[in-house]
């Protein structure tokens, strides 16, 4: 079983459109959406939920209004401005609490509980293209890196059970902790970039990251014809990091239209030039990795 991750650094480069097409093109695979802050893959793969697990992360302070005698010490000590005064007690603002436990410690009435917080959910689903593991982080919740790890573990387990050839991971944007969680230990990282200043800037950071973790990186330049000069600079940058450019996609309204229709590009317009290029990209990945077995 081979694990491949699709990442981009900057958002909006077409990462999920590419991943969605791989869901159609690859055989015997598990799809994993690790872009847990803004999971979108389900919008084009139309999954049917089979089971869901709670994702618990950190703790959150909760004031018991019956025990609170409004001394205000908690609010004085809270450095995150996360405690507000109500009429005859105090309350913790759900968005704002860092879970540091200082208020729990200083409360003379022991009126503050400190339960684990339910920060999101992890889902096992089925799609017409095979199983899919995805997740959702609650609004304002942090620590998506840990949820990424959970999605990957569950996807790998699912892949082992069904003897899958591939685990295909839609990675998170950026270059921070969630991305590191998404790429460590994978067999291949495919970077989808675009010829813009921030696209190129972030590409370099992601290439450094994959080099650091000794993960082979391949590159697809999306919308490459928007700025041919920058595309050439990206090719030069790729050469420096020995990352092969395995495909170039043109700036095309088809990507937008497929998204509006809620379908993978190769399914929305199977005979289009774009679909042919995406198919060629997937075949290159298969040949470079020696297939998924």
């Amino acid at each position: 079983m081979k694990e491949i991750v699709i990442i981009s650094g900057k958002g909006g480069t077409g990462k999920t459109s590419v991943t969605g097409s791989f869901a159609v093109l690859a055989s015997n695979k598990v799809m994993a959406d690790c872009d847990v802050d803004a999971a979108d893959l389900h919008l084009i793969l139309d999954p049917v939920l089979l089971e869901q697990h709670k994702f618990m992360s950190g703790h959150e302070a909760v004031i018991n209004a019956d025990l609170c005698d409004s001394c205000g010490l908690c609010a004085d000590f809270c450095r995150f401005d996360a405690i507000e005064q109500l009429q005859d007690s105090y309350a913790v603002k759900h968005i704002g609490c860092e879970g540091c436990k200082v208020c729990v410690e200083v409360c003379p009435q022991s009126a503050i509980d400190f339960p684990s917080s339910h920060s999101g959910d992890c889902y096992h689903s089925t799609t017409e293209y095979g199983p899919m593991i995805h997740a959702r982080l609650k609004a304002g919740a942090e620590n998506s890196g840990k949820l990424v790890t959970q999605v990957r573990n569950e996807a790998r387990q699912c892949g082992n059970e069904m003897n899958a050839s591939w685990v295909i991971i839609d990675g998170p944007p950026g270059i921070g902790c969630p991305v590191i969680s998404a790429i460590t230990g994978v067999d291949l990282a495919l970077i989808v970039t675009e010829p813009t200043l921030s696209g190129k800037h972030d590409l370099e950071r992601v290439l450094q990251l994959s080099k650091h973790f000794s993960i082979p990186a391949l590159i697809v330049i999306n919308k490459w014809d928007l700025n041919i000069k920058l595309s050439a600079e990206i090719e030069a940058l790729a050469a420096v990091y020995s990352a092969e450019i395995i495909g170039k996609l043109i700036y095309s309204p088809l990507f937008n239209l497929a998204q509006i229709a809620g379908l993978p590009v190769v399914k929305y317009a199977p005979n289009s030039q774009e679909a042919i290029e995406l198919t060629a990209i997937w075949q290159k990945i298969e040949s470079i990795t020696g297939g998924g077995e």
Binding site: S57, G145, F213
Partner: protein, 118 residues
């Protein structure tokens, strides 16, 4: 000498887990007796942050002299260095082979972190 190896399995044929801080367990191999025991680290798989630091602390407490893993971040390295635990990195391999490689001098020892903190 006691060797700690990060893993998701529970025997010498299991794969080395290449992530250090978020490894669910460690196999502790005693080179004198050739026996091993398991150290549970599952709490750190779900740590909010600083999993590497706590994991390093667990290894110190377990009395290991040597660590084998895939990578080691700067903060974990700081803890391990403070307690003079030697850190060796390996590529994908089963635990038994990694231990043999260590004893044959085939593994690379690192003294500064090889991955960025995150």
């Amino acid at each position: 000498m006691k060797i700690a190896i990060s893993t998701a399995g529970n025997n010498l044929d299991a794969q080395v887990e290449l992530r250090f801080g978020r490894a669910s367990s460690f196999l502790l191999f005693d080179t004198d007796t050739r026996n091993f025991s398991m150290l549970d680290n599952s709490e750190q798989v779900n740590a909010m942050q600083g999993a590497g630091i706590k994991t390093a602390q667990n290894i110190v407490t377990a009395g290991a002299d040597v660590l084998i893993s895939g990578h080691c971040g700067p903060k974990a390295m700081q803890v391990l260095n403070a307690k003079n635990i030697a850190v060796y990195v390996t590529e994908k391999n089963v635990i038994g082979t990694a231990i043999a490689n260590l004893q044959n001098g085939l593994l690379e020892q690192i003294t500064t972190h090889d991955v960025a903190g995150h």
